[in-house]
Symmetry: C2
């Protein structure tokens, strides 16, 4: 099967123009099929404040009311997404900005209201991914750039970018050898949290099982690792956690970040 | 060649929720390849006022400074475009929202500064249209929905929606029998401006040439007619000017609006 990179960047890259420019150059230079998923960044919060849209949180998760939905649709789906696309086009990368609504690429369900009403938030599954249309685009050397938005029942829905990346990886894992790359603020998963140089270069499942009872993994990294093994169990070939600045190396055989495999 | 409808709607439809809902139902019901191009509507102006972005005009044309560019990228490319797509998806139409930057669908040139600097405004030509990728989407029963934005040199550019519709029609006129439909506020071109019922149902070039010296055409409609004949001369099969509410009839053989042909 063909190799496919599914790469997620978060706000820490989007909010730093120099880091973003460098990242986009690296991303454009990769000579392989690839998909980019971007998060939000601080601009939605800033614009929301200017427009007097109050941010409501529950346990650290933002509640997406109707005003917030319009805000993220504008900022993520419009401003951030189209600026990324225009910059990548200039770098010779045939980027194509999308949300999950476009071409019904990711069909979601609005999160059911239980104790908390998270508002216009989409929950998604690999079965909701329009693999055929995505493959058609990839076959034309097009590079899809996903904003963290999906849809259901005539409404755009706010959707976690990490989740979109994982779900795309699982769906496309059936037709390609997917390496799912999460760019975060550290070089990779550390053997010793106090030592930034102690990156675990390769973390196969048996090593994870050995390290886990030793308390090697900090609380912050554990859910990421659990998600990674879930994706691998669902057919993704490799998951990599690393720094945005190491992207090119992390798409190669000798990675700087942590390569996670079964 | 296959039939293709290229349909442009303006702010008068976008700003009226009932008219828009009715239009989208009609648009979704058309059983033929089609492309929608939407204008802006009042929401960009309203949001601009809330954000304190001053609107600058020269001879009725808005100057697109950097702040205004961000505003229209958010509102046209994000909010308006994605809401239209989500609504069409619910109606069973596989809509896919795009700007000219996505997939390099419409490559523009920033308007040169002469007496006036219009700012981040894109001028476009049929040669700048990526006919191949558009045809690939249409062949998958996808319905492209264009926001009035293009790109050049790493920047999104504000671009007139009528112009985008005409340029797409000319470019795709080489591979399809294009009927270019402009939805405007009247039923069609009137024989007598004082009589709303005097729609000219068919306006071939020889009839236009006969009516023109008689002063039949009001000043407002003349540039639209000139654009229509330019498009026809460049290979578009038919141009239709009519009311949004008559869309279904205007895609048929017995049109309510004015069908313009050579």
């Amino acid at each position: 099967m063909k190799k496919l990179f599914i790469i997620k960047i978060g706000g820490n890259v989007l909010d730093n123009p120099a880091a973003l420019e460098s990242f986009l150059k690296d991303f454009a230079s990769i000579d392989a099929p690839r998909i980019l998923i971007h998060g939000g960044g601080k601009i939605a919060t800033k614009l929301g404040e200017q427009l007097g849209i109050a941010a409501n949180y529950h346990n650290g998760r933002r509640i997406t009311d109707a005003q917030t939905l319009d805000l993220v649709t504008m900022v993520y789906g419009g401003l951030v997404n189209k600026q990324l696309v225009a910059q990548l086009q200039q770098l010779g990368c045939n980027a194509w900005g999308v949300t999950g609504a476009d071409g019904n690429l990711i069909n979601a369900k609005k999160r059911p209201v239980k104790d908390i009403d998270y508002g216009f938030v989409g929950d998604i599954k690999p079965e909701g991914v329009n693999t055929k249309l995505l493959t058609t685009l990839l076959d034309q050397n097009v590079v899809p750039v996903f904003a963290p938005l999906t849809h259901a029942d005539g409404k755009i829905l706010n959707t976690n970018a990490d989740t979109i990346a994982s779900v795309l990886a699982v769906a496309l894992g059936k037709v390609a050898d997917v390496r799912l790359i999460f760019c975060f603020e550290k070089k990779g998963v550390l053997r010793d949290v106090a030592d930034a140089g102690s990156v675990i270069r390769h973390l196969p499942r048996n090593l994870y099982d050995e390290y886990l009872p030793q308390g090697v993994f900090a609380d912050g990294i554990l859910p990421k690792l659990e998600n990674a093994y879930n994706a691998l169990n669902a057919g993704v070939k490799e998951v990599l956690i690393g720094e945005a600045g190491d992207l090119v190396k992390n798409t190669g055989a000798q990675t700087e970040g942590t390569l996670i495999t079964l």
